[in-house]
């Protein structure tokens, strides 16, 4: 196809459908109207020609009639002249009656100029002839001389004959002329008929071609493209790629473009969906730690992943289509699978932990979750089953539980041992100390040497007792057997109590017992009894070892969110080399001190364990002159209820300032 028709076709295709329809209908219609017009014109021409022919025949007939009427009239008149019989005048009278009408007809019919000129001469001759005949009739009836009359009739007859002859000549001319005219008209009619035939043929051809063109245009411009569009719509429905479609601007072209857009959109969505499904499938299939598979509504395995294969041992093709009850060991196979599905159907999901079978018959401890899958219509489509092999976890849990039980048992055994040891040590010691005391009661019976010996026995026995107490204390704290009763302790109140309690010991050592700084409204979390034990131990130590100084100080303040309790003295302090061993059991720092100071050597070690058990820390620091022990305690969470906290503390302080002289027996260790 050359460029030009292609351009025309493109232009045609781009026109709107309404315009195309108009063209397709109007083109044959125009051809039809043209053909009808030409038919009308040609029939008019033919009718005209026929009427001309008819008129020509009429003119010929009427001219003969004029001639015949006159000739018969003339013959009649002559017969009348001869016979005088009235009946010979009949033609004359007929002619007189008919001639005017005939002449008038001729006058109306004649169009040709030459014929009219001859007709006018015929008219003149006719009038002349009628006049002549009238004269003859008059002569015949006139009275007079018959001879003159005969002569005059003879002359009139002769003149009449000349008139008739010349008229006949004119009529002959007219007849000839009309014959010529008739031939001309016939020719014209034939020509018109020929032209009409040609026109009709041309119209038919044009109409045929126009229809063909319209059909062609319709088929190329609309039908073919609509078929193409239909094909594309079917492809779209099947999800196939659309065929090529011309880029036309009309309605079909726009529809095709929309279809193409819809197709692209659908394909993009389909692609996304496929990719998403593929990703999901890959993820599910690739999961190794979880057996993820689908069951149909009857419990038949419908899909299988790598994790299921790894955990259970079956390949996908080995297990697909089999009922999932084969995963269950014989003792649960009959009822558990059905029950699980029932539970999933009723509650959406069912979870279970228990033994399951591998392909090789071995068992594993599984965690199984079955979820019922419903479609949008609420129809059960099947189940998703997720299985985990938690055999290892179960084993670990079992081991942990066993270890815990063993630890508890060991702890119980240790407590039992401590309790027995305590009992076993105390029983003989009871006898030793008892008898010693008994001897002391009767000491006046003994001499000085024995008394000293009895004193040593008692003293050593008491030391042994405090040793046993501290040792068991430490052991029981370390074993966790000593339960602390942690509570909110008002430190001001506590320190005032401690001051009152330890005052005699400090005073006995000849020292000033200071209480500073006063902690004010400050509460710590501690075990009241154990805290008392620690403070008394530290204060007793300070009093014991401060042989050259003047005071012992007990104080408490808040530092960095903790309560800090300090016990300080201005004694000799502790040598730097000995500080690291301070809190070690049985280390009493130097031989000479043992000679003069009581103590188990466990006091600081015990204090450290107690403070740590209460959530604090204890440390030694060189004091301004002597030793400074400092330990921390967690602050109580709730601020002190002022009224409640203040009253007992005031009372305690009053007791402290009164410097009660009641001897307080402290079991300083």
């Amino acid at each position: 196809m050359s460029a030009r028709p292609a351009r025309i076709m493109r232009h045609w295709a781009n026109q709107p459908l309404a315009w195309k329809g108009l063209v397709v209908v109007a083109l044959p219609l125009a051809v039809l109207i043209g053909a009808l017009g030409s038919l009308y014109i040609s029939s008019r021409v033919e009718a005209q020609a026929e009427s001309d022919v008819r008129r020509a025949f009429a003119i010929q007939r009427d001219t003969y009639r004029v001639h015949a009427l006159l000739a018969e009239a003339a013959a009649g008149v002559r017969g009348y002249l001869l016979t005088r019989e009235e009946r010979f005048l009949e033609p004359y009278r007929k002619a007189e009656a008919d001639l005017p009408a005939t002449m008038a007809r001729l006058d109306a019919d004649i169009r040709d100029a030459e014929v009219r000129a001859r007709f006018e001469r015929v008219q003149a001759r006719t009038a002349q002839k009628r006049e002549g005949l009238a004269t003859l009739v008059a002569l015949a009836d006139s009275p007079g001389d018959p001879a003159t009359r005969a002569a005059r009739i003879e002359a009139a007859l002769a003149a009449n004959k000349v008139v008739l002859d010349s008229m006949r000549a004119e009529i002959d001319n007219i007849q000839r002329r009309e014959a010529v005219l008739l031939d001309q008209r016939r020719a014209r009619v034939e020509s018109v008929q020929r032209n009409f035939l040609i026109l009709t043929v041309i119209s038919a051809l044009v109409g045929l071609l126009g229809s063909l063109a319209a059909v062609y245009l319709f088929s190329t411009g609309i039908v073919r493209r609509v078929r193409l569009l239909e094909g594309n719509a079917e492809r779209l429905a099947r999800g196939e790629e659309l065929g090529p479609f011309p880029e036309d601007a009309d309605e079909i072209g726009r529809l095709a473009r929309r279809l193409s857009l819809a197709s692209q959109l659908l394909r993009a969505r389909e692609q996304d969906l496929r990719e998403s499904e593929e990703r999901f499938r890959l993820v599910v299939e690739g999961v190794q730690d979880y057996g993820i598979f689908a069951l149909d509504p009857d419990g038949v395995v419908a899909s299988w992943n790598l994790g299921a294969q790894r955990i259970k041992g079956w390949q996908a093709q080995e297990i697909l289509g089999h009922h999932f009850s084969r995963f269950y060991p014989p003792e649960t196979r009959d009822y558990l699978p059905g029950r699980m599905l029932d539970m999933a159907r009723q509650g959406g999901t069912a979870e279970d932990e228990g033994w399951r079978l591998r392909k090789d018959g071995s068992r594993f401890w599984a965690n199984v979750v079955i979820t019922a899958l419903y479609d949008d219509a609420g129809q059960l489509r099947g189940f998703a089953k997720v299985t985990r092999d938690i055999t290892e976890r179960r084993r670990t849990e079992e081991a942990l539980r066993q270890a815990r039980e063993e630890a508890i048992a060991a702890n119980l055994a240790k407590s039992e041992f401590l309790s027995r040891t305590s009992h076993e040590l105390r029983t003989p010691l009871s006898a030793i100390l008892g008898f010693g005391q008994l001897l002391e009661l009767d000491e006046e019976q003994f001499d000085t040497r024995h008394r000293a010996a009895i004193g040593q026995i008692t003293k050593a026995g008491r030391h042994l007792l405090s040793l046993i107490n501290d040792l068991l204390d430490i052991s029981s704290i370390e074993a966790g057997g000593s339960e602390l009763e942690l509570e909110r302790v008002d430190m001001g109140e506590m320190l005032a109590e401690m001051h009152a309690l330890a005052l005699p010991i400090v005073a006995e050592a000849g020292l000033d017992f200071r209480l500073e700084p006063d902690p004010g409204p400050l509460a710590a979390t501690a075990d009241r009894r154990r805290l008392t034990q620690v403070i008394l131990n530290l204060v007793a130590n300070a009093a014991k070892y401060n042989r050259d100084g003047t005071f012992v100080r007990l104080g408490c303040h808040v530092l960095d969110g903790e309560a800090v309790v300090e016990v300080e003295d201005d004694g000799p302090g502790i040598a730097a080399a000995d500080v690291p061993r301070l809190f070690t059991p049985f280390d009493r720092l130097g031989q000479q001190s043992r000679m003069r100071v009581d103590g188990s050597g466990l006091g600081l070690a015990l204090s450290r364990r107690l403070v740590e058990a209460m959530g604090g820390q204890i440390a030694y620091a060189p004091g301004r002159k002597g030793a400074l022990f400092r330990f921390t305690l967690p602050l109580a969470a709730r601020p002190a209820d002022e009224d409640k906290a203040m009253r007992p503390r005031k009372a305690a302080r009053k007791a402290a300032t009164a410097k009660s002289h009641n001897p307080v027996e402290t079991n300083a260790k």
Binding site: S419, S422, H423, E424, L425, R426, T427, P428, L429, S430, A431, I432, L433, G434, F435, Q437, L438, L441, D442, G461, L465
Partner: protein, 151 residues
């Protein structure tokens, strides 16, 4: 009417039964009680015979160790309680090396009237014995002469 104070002779005449598997402890108690002047003191180191002896002697007070081989003191406490008369006050003083709170609670709950941890202060123990005996004597007096209660 003022109650008659309990005379010391009255206390010392009372019958005491000490049960302890450890001979040294039994001897200690014996020495202590003899020194105090008690005249009717009985000792037992075989706990298996405790019940029989108890029933036979009908002591005014029992000094009882808790942890003994064979029969432990808690069982004896229960047995003594089963034989106790409702209107009788027969004190049992537990002397034990078991320092736990549980032992103390359990013994007192089972009817022990007092509880002392070994090693003990002998003076304290002798005072407690005297107090318990005094209570028993006053209880007896009350039972014999209910009118005293009215005043």
């Amino acid at each position: 009417m003022m109650a008659q104070p309990v005379q010391r002779e009255e206390l010392l005449a009372r019958r005491i039964l000490a049960i302890d598997d450890e001979e040294a402890n039994v001897l200690l108690l014996a020495s202590l009680l003899e020194r105090e002047g008690y005249g009717d003191v009985h000792y037992l180191t075989d706990p298996a015979r405790a019940m029989e002896t108890f029933l036979a002697l009908q002591p005014d007070i029992v000094l009882l160790d808790l942890m003994m081989p064979g029969v432990d003191g808690f069982q004896l406490l229960e047995a003594f309680a089963r034989h106790a008369r409702e209107d009788d006050f027969r004190p049992i003083l537990v002397l034990t090396a078991d320092t736990t709170l549980q032992a103390r609670r359990r013994a007192l709950a089972l009817g022990a009237k007092d509880f002392v941890v070994k090693p003990f202060d002998i003076i304290e123990v002798s005072l407690r014995i005297a107090n318990l005996l005094e209570t028993r004597i006053l209880y007896e007096r009350l039972r014999q002469n209910p009118a005293a209660n009215q005043t």
